[in-house]
């Protein structure tokens, strides 16, 4: 006898994406840019090269959910949804910030601050997520994504306790109701350790080493080909899928073999275990798939990647796991303009 209802299979993967500077090439550092971005049409908005292709490939197996969490105001929902549809991106949840409410209530810290808003939204979403789903998160270096995503991962895994969280939110000067909602969401979330990777798109070209205090789970990336390579090594994507991401970047954004092979070597130099990735890509390049024709001729590609690998001599060892000191790293969670700027990094 058939059961009364058949529940859909729980998603194997949850992909959480930020929008501005992670998925979209957004400029809002000045008031003029902010205004232009606010009134842009969907067709004028430009995605970061490879981002749409990567999402499509991640979603291709049908065993995942896409949760988009953006600091953009709720009033932009229409145009953002239209842009995602234009790019062929299918999402399950799109959460936007209620900045009009913040403005009306005079909560000016909350207008620019992301910690209270995003951490609560992530935890509330996690509470609705099946326990067995693992998570891969995508953010950028313009705001506090590395900090917030890492804290989220460690909170649900129980590595950061309530006392430590209280100190962090106190130092971050969250509003009282934000703090209460945060703790409520944490109480509603089951303990699990699902976050596999946190990718930080280096929109501002922050030196990748600036994120080393967040441990090897956080992978800063110059482009989405790099994310695809890491996901291939992690077994999330297949080699043909990675090549399809690369093909889109070559065809639509002017990427070339040098940029792709340099990106590959950049990850190797940071100790990411990609030595087997090159052979998987080589095998995939031999398949007669029409989309990959953008990446011919094959021998040149194989040679470029092999040379970048050989040029390093002994591959560096993977970065060590570290205990994250969130209070010390709180600087990463503050709005950009109030942060200390390292003169060497400029």
């Amino acid at each position: 006898m058939l059961p009364d209802r058949i529940d859909p299979k729980p998603p194997k993967h949850i992909y959480r994406w930020d929008l501005d500077k992670t998925y979209l090439q957004s400029e809002f550092d000045t008031f003029r840019q902010l205004m232009r971005s606010a009134f842009q049409r969907a067709s004028d908005k430009v995605a970061v090269p490879g981002a749409a292709a990567l999402i499509r490939e991640l979603r291709a197996r049908g065993d995942s959910k896409l949760f988009i969490l953006s600091g953009s105001p709720k009033q932009m929902r229409g145009v953002l949804e239209a842009k995602l549809r234009l790019d062929g991106v299918e999402w399950d949840e799109l959460v936007l910030k209620d900045n009009v409410r913040n403005l009306l209530r005079g909560r000016f810290r909350a207008l620019r601050g992301q910690l209270g808003y995003k951490l609560v939204a992530l935890l509330e979403s996690r509470a609705r997520t099946p326990l067995q789903s693992d998570e891969i998160l995508f953010g950028d270096d313009a705001e506090a994504d590395a900090f917030i995503y890492s804290l989220y991962a460690d909170l649900i895994a129980g590595r950061v306790g309530q006392d430590a969280l209280r100190k962090i939110v106190g130092a971050a000067e969250l509003y009282k109701d934000e703090t209460e909602r945060l703790f409520q969401a944490l109480r509603n979330t089951s303990r699990a350790d699902p976050v596999r990777r946190i990718f930080i798109h280096l929109d501002r070209l922050t030196p990748p080493a600036s994120f080393s205090n967040f441990g090897p789970r956080v992978v800063p990336i110059f482009n989405y080909f790099q994310a695809a390579l890491v996901l291939l090594a992690d077994g999330v994507l297949t080699a043909p899928q990675v090549l399809r991401v690369a093909a889109e970047m070559v065809q639509t954004a002017g990427y070339n073999l040098l940029m792709l092979s340099n990106s590959f070597q950049d990850l190797l130099r940071r100790g990411l275990p990609l030595d087997k990735v090159a052979s998987s890509l080589t095998e995939a390049l031999d398949t007669p798939e029409s989309l990959l024709s953008a990446l011919r001729p094959v021998p040149d590609i194989v040679s470029a990647f092999s040379k970048r690998l050989a040029a390093l001599g002994t591959p560096p060892s993977p970065p060590p796991a570290v205990a994250i000191d969130y209070l010390a790293l709180l600087e990463h969670a503050r709005p950009r303009s109030s942060r200390h700027v390292d003169p060497l990094a400029e």
Binding site: L205, N256, L257, D266, A311, G313
Partner: protein, 349 residues
């Protein structure tokens, strides 16, 4: 859509940087290449040297990882080492490896801020001389009173300044053609004036090789040869390109550097000595800064080594990041204009 190999390379120019051996260690060279990766999308930097040191330096600076790659070289020739001995003992030195990578086509040009002799020798071992060139020449830019070319550069070019100690008349003629071609392409000077350095402006003044070179250059209508200039004509900028042998050129260059340092020291002395002089200098300070800015050698990047079939820019050992980045831009410009081919054509005509 099917892309060919050239499309896949996207018209990029790769510059190999010898990261080791400069006075400031790897940091400044890496910073220079990092600047370049942010400023010049068509230029890729291939950093050659100890991978650990390069990655440590890269970790501290903003850069675009898509435009930088690293080639590990375990050794390097130090500033004080004898070039021949250093290169023989260290075949995997950064300068030797970088020169080989350029020769093999992995990079289009080489920027070397380390040991000058080792850079030229490594190039001689890996590159070929352009047909018609017997010896390569090291060319240096120096500030002048007169402005030159369409960009009104306050610089002239002098060569050779040390690659070849003694030059035959043929060598001097070759240097004249190479210097003229370089000034035409890099300084955008369509018809650069060329002069021989001598102890008098008359054609028969100077050693035999200079007198003979003068005679031959006089017959070359494609060059704008203006005759001899004396030493005083160098800082005045009497010619866009001044030709001499490496011994004389090196002495002149070091003297110009010494005069510059002496003037700076005298100004410091004046500043310390009298309040009225200090006030006077303070009033002149913005003008002095402007003069410093237009005559700053770091703006120009480096000295080209001319005569090889590959582009080699010798950056100053004291180069800071900006000078290294500018050396990379000059190298890329020379590659884009195919300087070696232009020199070969100049020598044929």
């Amino acid at each position: 859509m099917v892309c060919g190999y050239a499309d896949l390379m996207g018209g990029s120019i790769t510059i190999a940087f010898d990261v080791m051996g400069s006075d400031h260690g790897p940091m400044e060279v890496v910073r220079g290449a990092a600047h370049l990766s942010l400023e010049a999308p068509h230029i890729h930097a291939l950093l050659v040297g100890r991978r650990g040191a390069i990655d440590e330096a890269l970790a501290q600076v903003r850069h675009n990882g898509e435009r930088i790659s690293v080639h590990h070289a375990p050794d390097f020739v130090e500033m004080g080492e004898k070039p021949m001995e250093g290169l023989s003992a260290k075949p995997m030195s950064s300068i030797a490896v970088a020169a080989r990578l350029v020769a093999e086509g992995e990079a289009d040009a080489l920027v070397a801020p380390g040991n000058t002799g080792a850079a030229i020798l490594a190039a001689a071992q890996s590159f070929k001389l352009i047909p018609g060139v017997r010896r390569a020449a090291l060319a240096a830019v120096y500030p002048t009173r007169a402005r030159h070319g369409t960009k009104l550069d306050p610089f002239s070019l002098i060569l050779d300044v040390g690659a070849t100690l003694e030059a035959t008349p043929e060598d001097l003629v070759t240097f004249a053609v190479m210097g003229s071609t370089y000034a035409r392409i890099i300084s955008r000077n369509p018809k650069p004036s060329v002069a021989l350095l001598s102890n008098g402006t008359e054609p028969n003044k100077g050693p035999a090789n200079v007198v003979e070179a003068h005679r031959r250059l006089n017959g070359m209508k494609e060059l704008q040869f203006i005759g001899n200039v004396e030493g005083v004509g160098i800082p005045l900028g009497s010619a866009d390109v001044v030709v001499c042998d490496g011994f004389v050129g090196n002495v002149c260059l070091k003297m110009l550097e010494g005069v510059h340092e002496t003037v700076v020291e005298l100004a410091r002395y004046a500043y310390r000595s009298k309040l009225t002089w200090r006030v006077g200098l303070a009033m002149l300070s913005s003008g002095i800064r402007q003069v410093q800015a237009v005559t700053d050698w770091q703006q120009y990047g480096g000295a080209p080594v001319l005569g090889f079939d590959r582009v080699l820019i010798k950056a100053h050992g004291r180069s800071r990041a900006r000078a290294i980045a500018n050396a990379g831009k000059v190298a890329a410009k020379a590659v884009a204009a195919d300087l070696p081919r232009a020199i070969a054509e100049g020598l044929r005509s």
